[in-house]
């Protein structure tokens, strides 16, 4: 009531000023509310011990716009950083502290390093800038995208090519020990398992899949016999025998540790689809493990990589 009386006394010019002020104030309020919402999400992200709460916070923060027309914040992290915090928190909740979350000097930006690797290798997320959304876990020196994650759609896709390039070509072949590499791999693989087990993510472990049922699809679906011939010759030189596959068209090789590697055409009539499988009693060995441990298998794989490269999800790894 009082308002209306007062309002009557204010002329049109003042009215417009009031309107402006009010608009400004509303703008501030909503900007501050946005900031407050942000800090609340941040609290969740860094402090919660509940998985779903953590994921919900990360999901919102990963495309949160903190600045508004009236309120901007000079100190901010990038959206990509929230993925990194989420990953570190999730690993931490499972007592895996191998991925060390560092912050760059003089700026708010985060990255991972691993004690087992030199600081030359830094890992962070790169948000995908198109309608698909999601983000890649990216190693900066080599530019390799190790996996793709989409929090909303709850999916994770590992990328065989990036793992081969980084962990074999750049690290193993330059003298980094298999144990060190395995520690880093274990953390990344565990991250996939936690997403799968805690949140029901759809995870494609790709070349890292240890399940006996995993069929690693080869880039050259209709593999030329020459490539298999090469394995036959090199295996013999290393005192292993590449045998004729007992089922269907293909070959198999028995390696120490009761490992059985099959390479065969798993396609249907008329459409070849050559795959590799790795069979071991405890389902603890992936094709990537074979590459890490058996030099002649690795040499063969790398020398024929155009044919043998394991296919990753083509939707996110073109």
């Amino acid at each position: 009531m009082l308002m209306t009386n007062d309002a009557k006394k204010i002329d049109s010019a003042t009215l417009s000023t009031h309107g402006k002020l009010s608009m400004f104030n509303e703008g501030l309020k909503s900007g501050l509310a946005n900031g407050q919402k942000f800090t609340k999400l941040m609290d969740q992200l860094i402090d919660t011990n509940d998985g779903e709460t953590l994921l919900a916070a990360a999901k919102e923060l990963s495309d949160f716009k903190l600045d508004s027309a009236y309120v901007t914040f000079p100190h901010q992290y990038q959206n990509a950083d929230y993925y990194l915090i989420f990953m570190s928190r999730l690993l931490g909740m499972h007592d895996d502290e191998h991925a060390i979350l560092n912050t760059r000097a003089h700026s708010e930006s985060l990255y991972h390093v691993f004690n087992e690797l030199s600081d030359d290798y830094t890992f962070l997320y790169q948000v995908v800038d198109n309608d698909n959304g999601g983000a890649y876990y990216h190693e900066q020196t080599t530019g390799e995208n190790l996996f793709y994650i989409h929090l909303e759609r709850r999916l994770l896709r590992f990328n065989s090519t990036a793992f081969t390039n980084l962990f074999i070509n750049k690290l193993l072949l330059k003298g980094v020990g298999v144990d060190q590499i395995n520690t880093v791999l274990a953390t990344l693989i565990n991250f996939g398992h936690y997403l799968q087990d805690d949140f029901g993510f759809n995870v494609d472990f790709n070349i890292l899949d240890v399940a006996n049922a995993a069929k690693y699809e080869l880039h050259e679906a209709d593999l030329s016999g020459e490539v298999v011939d090469k394995l036959f010759v090199t295996a013999a030189k290393n005192d292993y025998m590449l045998q004729n596959s007992p089922h269907g068209h293909g070959a198999q090789i028995q390696l120490p540790g009761n490992l059985l590697i099959d390479i065969f055409d798993a396609g249907s009539a008329g459409t070849a689809k050559w795959v590799i499988t790795v069979h071991d009693d405890d389902q603890r060995v992936s094709w990537f493990d074979v590459l890490l441990h058996f030099d002649f298998m690795r040499d063969w794989y790398l020398e024929n990589i155009e044919s043998l490269a394991i296919k990753a999800d083509p939707l996110v790894f073109a």
């Binding site: 011939d229 036959f232 013999a236 045998q243």
Partner: protein
Amino acid sequence: MEKQSQPDLEQNEQDQPTRELTNSLQQKLDYLSTLRQAISAGDDRLIYELIDGDHYHQALLNEEPNPARNTQVNLITDVHPAISHYLSTKLIDYLAHEYPFFYYEETQLGEFQIYFGNWWDRRRFGKLNALKVAFEFSQEEFNKLQKTFELAASHKRFNTDAIQRISAANDQLQALIDAQGDRDQQKDKLRQQLKENGQRNSLFDSGRIKDERQQIIDQLTKLADQDEQANNAHATMKDNEAKILTLSKEDTILAYEKQAIEKSFKSFENFNERNRSLYVDYLTTLIGKAQVDADDE
């Protein structure tokens, strides 16, 4: 029906040729029914004796040849594939033990392809003749294996020389590619010489200058040829690598075959000897088995 119930009467009425005919037909019936019984009873030894009695008696009983033993065998030529199929079961069981590196595929009834080994791209090594209990090796494949054993004495493999020759050719091509820079320098020098040669003009010495010019041109042509070879070298080298792979693969297969034979027979000679005595050896085990079975009863 009525006639059969009075055989004596009928026989008495027959003349000599008819009696011979009925005898002969009876012998055929006996032969066939014995064979049928042998198959029902699983008496493979007897089947072998029936399908080629002359060979059986010579090989196992050291008797003189006598074609009369095989009078009836033509009765069953049309069912040879089926008999072969039947006999193969026990024979292949036996062979699996004696020749653990041979594998068989029945490509059509009673026809058996031999595969040597269970390694990648193992070779088809010929056929198994189950009726004769004999390997019929592919001559070409067998010769390669024989050569492999011969070469082993000089620590060579079947394709060692060929691989060396092709590798050397590839080394040469690589050298040709590597020498491109040198050739480019030489060509520049020769072209300069050619230019100088063209500027010289002598009434008295024109023959010599002409000769010199020709020499330079010849050298340039030779270098151009080498350039072209170098340009094509990559394709040739790739072809050569494919050839080397094929040869290495064959060497690997032959090495496995040689190892397999040495493991089971110690030597290639023993292997061949065993192959020659396969019929006798197999039939002897069948006889031995029959003996054991009889003793058990």
